[in-house]
């Protein structure tokens, strides 16, 4: 049996435009469960006034809630009327930076008075300068990134990269709130905003090198300010040249041209060591001779993909190619007969008052389980009557997952099992090229239960710096069904969301700094999406050298 929402990758792929707008929503506030959070903000051990400390709910179902408080003269803050939920808490003082290893996750379960959520800050450093091209023109809205290498109090070396900053209309940038460390600053054009076509220069490091190893290092100490960190960029004027890409699409078996196939381009973006595929909106349709062409393509790495369509009986592997300084004219795509899976979606509910389901707002996605699908996920709408057809499938095992339209919530539903001819399909549905499988039944379950709880020790709260992991599973007999709770905060509070009705076992694992381990177990029943808050009490074993 396959519990819970199958794959979260689909989710992240589908979050489209909705995230560009601030979204809020609010459930009715339960007055009984309001919490208070308080603590102190210090710089060099002294309380600082006027610092805003904010609590923001993490993005569950697109809802963001925030609460804030301001520190008084002694650096103390207090935030009241916070409903239960999972939050990030942090001082909103970007000119300061946090000292390391401070837990910022906060899970508030019941009406609590949470105290001593303290923050120690250091005044951050500043780096500012101007970015100009070789012709002395300012570069406007170029992305500024920095890499910092530092050694923290515990002697651990770390490095991180940040690229939130941009130059303004004068080419000037200003990085602030920088933690002490050794910095390399570089400039690039933000490819994502530029349709992958306007990066007219390679990322350039201060003062004027494209080689990261030759970048000058700026050593930031607490509160230091470096001005005049100007970067000169060499514009590459050839990169605005564009080329034509042509090819043919033929039947992989008989070599005949395949007309009327919609093709699209993907561009491989490689920036700061991150590689990702950018879906370009450059369609082309093969003609009677199976020929297709894409015009005005800038130099870069690309792939041609056959657009999956419900009516298309063929599919093809992604064909990679590179555009350098001339037209590409010899691409050949070979098609294979695609498989399809059709059937019906059925909601099984044990809930007394199940909410109505709108199938037309849900989609099914199929993805090969071999793990290197090349990003090919086939999607299909679910019709109002629950029927669906997934086309363009690849030979092999294909697993299904459920998604909301446009990355929206799945109405609390997830796939509980998939049946083909009455047989449960573990590990996906096996399809062969050209095979059309019908009568597949996809069972959905409401999975809007939430299990909240806290891990404590027999002597009370958890010791400082204890590492806590919470696991839960459907049946103690099947360890494969166990998975980790995504969030456990420093106080041992945890939350498990999207749980279908059922009986579960919760296991808490506490690891102390000296490697002692303590475990506690508890069974919970989720019914109608509800479960009482639970407390798991671990017994800390006596440490070495501790007398009982």
């Amino acid at each position: 049996m396959k519990p819970f929402s199958h794959h979260s990758i689909v989710w992240s792929v589908l979050i489209v435009c909705v995230s560009c707008v601030s979204m809020q929503s609010q459930t009715k506030v339960d007055r009984e469960s309001l919490n208070t959070v308080s603590g102190k903000v210090t710089v060099k051990g002294k309380g600082v006034s006027g610092i805003v400390v904010s609590i923001r709910s993490t993005k569950v179902d697109h809802r963001i809630q925030s609460f804030s408080g301001r520190t008084d003269q002694d650096g103390n803050y207090r935030i009241g009327n916070v409903p239960r939920g999972t939050y990030q808490i942090a001082p909103s003082s970007p000119e300061f930076s946090l000292t390391e290893s401070q837990q910022r996750l906060l899970i508030l379960t019941a009406s609590e008075n949470v105290e001593a959520i303290d923050f120690a800050l250091v005044r951050g450093g500043v780096i500012t300068g101007k970015v100009t091209s070789s012709g002395n023109q300012p570069l406007i809205e170029a992305s500024i990134s920095y890499t910092v290498e530092r050694i923290d109090e515990a002697g651990i070396q770390s490095s991180r990269t940040d690229s939130r900053y941009q130059t303004d209309d004068r080419g000037i940038y200003r990085l602030f709130g920088l933690v002490p460390g050794k910095y390399k600053v570089s400039v690039s054009r933000d490819v994502r905003n530029a349709f992958g076509q306007t990066a007219r220069f390679t990322p350039t490091y201060y003062p004027a090198t494209t080689d990261p190893s030759k970048a000058s290092i700026i050593e930031i100490t607490e509160g230091s300010e470096f001005t005049g960190i100007d970067i000169k960029v060499e514009l590459n004027d050839n990169s605005s040249e564009k080329f034509t890409v042509k090819g043919r699409i033929i039947d992989g078996v008989n070599g005949q041209p395949v007309p009327n196939i919609r093709l699209r381009l993907e561009q491989l973006i490689d920036q700061y060591g991150t590689r990702y595929l950018d879906y370009l909106d450059v369609p082309s349709t093969s003609d009677r001779e199976g020929e297709f062409s894409f015009e005005d393509i800038a130099p870069g790495q690309y792939g041609v993909i056959v657009e999956p369509s419900p009516s298309s009986a063929v599919r093809a592997e992604r064909l990679p190619f590179v555009v350098t300084d001339q037209d590409v004219t010899d691409l050949v795509i070979k098609t294979v007969r695609a498989a399809s899976v059709s059937g019906v979606v059925i909601v099984e509910s044990t809930m007394n008052k199940a909410p109505p389901v709108q199938f037309s707002r849900l989609s099914l996605y199929s993805y090969p389980t071999d793990g290197n699908s090349g990003g090919i996920i086939t999607g299909a709408r679910i019709n109002a009557d629950g029927s669906f057809q997934l086309s363009g499938l690849k030979e092999g095992f294909n697993d299904l997952s459920l998604g909301g339209k446009f990355g929206r919530p799945t109405q609390g539903l997830s796939i509980s099992r998939i049946e083909r001819d009455g047989v449960v399909q573990n590990g996906g549905i096996e399809v062969k090229d050209g095979e059309n499988i019908t009568g597949v039944r996809v069972f959905l379950k409401f999975s809007n239960g939430t299990i909240r709880g806290v891990v404590k020790t027999t002597s009370g709260d958890l010791p400082r710096n204890a590492q806590v992991a919470v696991w839960f599973g459907e049946s103690p007999a099947d360890p494969r069904s166990f998975r980790a709770s995504p969030v456990v905060d420093a106080r041992g509070h945890f939350i498990i969301q999207g749980v279908p009705d059922g009986t579960y076992e919760i296991i808490a694992n506490v690891k102390l700094v000296d490697s002692r381990i303590a475990v506690a177990k508890q069974q919970v029943i989720v019914a109608d999406g509800n479960v009482p808050d639970i407390t798991l009490i671990v017994e800390i074993p006596p440490g070495p050298g501790v007398k009982q």
Partner: protein
Amino acid sequence: MKLVYSLLGLAVSVLALTTSVVTAQGTRPDELEESTAAVKKGVITGRVINESGQPLPDAQVTVRAYGSGEYPHNTSTDRDGNFRVSGLRPVLYYATASLPAYAAAPRDPDNTQATSYRIGDTITLVMFKGGVITGSVKSITGEPVVGVQVRAQMIRDGSGQRSRYGATTRERLTDDRGIYRIYGLPTGTYLVFAGGPGYLGANGAYENDAPTYSPSSLRGNAAEISVRAGEETRDVDIRYRSEVGHTIRGTAAAHNASNTPEAWVILTSTLDGGSQLGDSVYQPLGFEGFSFSGLADGSYDLTAESFHANGEIMISEPKRVNVRGTDISDVELITKPLANISGRVVLEESKAAECKGKKRTLLTEILVSAWHNEKEAAQDQPQFVWGLGGPSFPNLQGDVALRNLAAGQYQIIARQFAKYWYLDSITLPAAAATRPTKPGEPNRPQDAVSNWTNLKAGDRLSGLIVKVAGGAASLRGQITTAEDATLPGRSYVYLVPAEREKSQDVLRFLSAPVSPDKTIALHNIPPGRYFIIVQPALDEVRPTLTKLRLPNETETRARLRREAEAAKTEIEFKPCQNVTDYQLPFPPVETANRSPQREK
């Protein structure tokens, strides 16, 4: 910096039509029977330049079909400012360009060049370096406020006109010194404020605060900041008040469903007039409602909007909410369907011999729009609703539907761009129009251009007929001024129908600006007899032709007719006739020779 329209939600894409259609001159090859290579390949090319004609490289250009949910075609300009998109279908497109720190040139009402393009067209988009507002945000005690969002909102444009819906707002965060810098602003008058619910939402520290307007006030006493393109307005400082704003909570429900729908809720402030800076929140399906926080005292309208897979939009009546020192909860919004008008576009070929072999207009290149009556609509009601029902083009069979029209009065208008074709008439069954049919009067089709059509929520009107006919004529010529006469600035040449039976036909009223070198050009003229006259432009802001044809401008047309009749200059156009080298004396010879006595 992100460019954010004053209203968010999916309406943005529609609003783009009215806001960032940059001044553009489209050039078209003359109408040949044979298609050019560019037409065959579905290509639109163009250039992005600054106001002095210099090419602008690296500008992002978006070419998008009107009235369709299709993906836009995106590209960028090369080092010579040129761009090209290909693979376009033969429908009508609009084009927008964006370049950091630059703003689109405002639409000149005297520029009659089309802002819709056909494949094969070459477009020039003009942008100029925008203005800058910079200053600091400090607390009451003088400490810099770091990481707060500062937003500039245009309230009046460069010509002093109140911003229409969809006016741009731009925002930036303050740095570690509390300094902000907002650039790329078009010329106009702005309000600048810090804090409040925002789109950058940096860290949530200030989003529950009521916005503080420069210098340190609520909206009512905000300073008006004037900005000129290419210039910097400095020291626009804000003393940040740190006042917690209020919250409005409520639920959006559909009129025909029991559960709460997925909806966008849009909040507009009545104070902000036509520009109506708004905030938009999402209510997920099945959840228990929406909330807005960080609101200052004032009056707001809340409107819920939900989108359907078939492209239809449901919308609630705007609900007026007054925030006075406390939070407000339990606001209920009920969404209902908007109105639709459907019908057909019919083509009528000209039988005249002169029109043989001339290129036909394409059905899909005819754009039909419904324009709401601005005078009748309340100025403080949410204005974004007028942008929901964008223009639409017919399918290959000529079927056309104008969807998502908010309740109000509309004029139906259509545009087509084939040289030898003209818009002949637009009619609706009489019952659909404003004027009620008298008993016994036959239910004749009514002119939907010269009459307003009243639409209520959920109306489904059918029987719209847009008739586009072949045989259009054109006129090119010159104004010849008498020795002692000077042509007033912003002069227009007007054609007024001379035939009695056409005297009320607003589509037979035509106008075009007289260019500085006194040349005139008129296209797509229905054949027939006209009076021709030179008169000043009709409006400061709107295109003169738009105003000339409005249903409630009967007096304007009557006056024009009286003066044109008095001037007695007539001209006749035969089907497909291209009149060139036409000389039009100014002032009209007849009038100039007339003595004052004779006039009595």
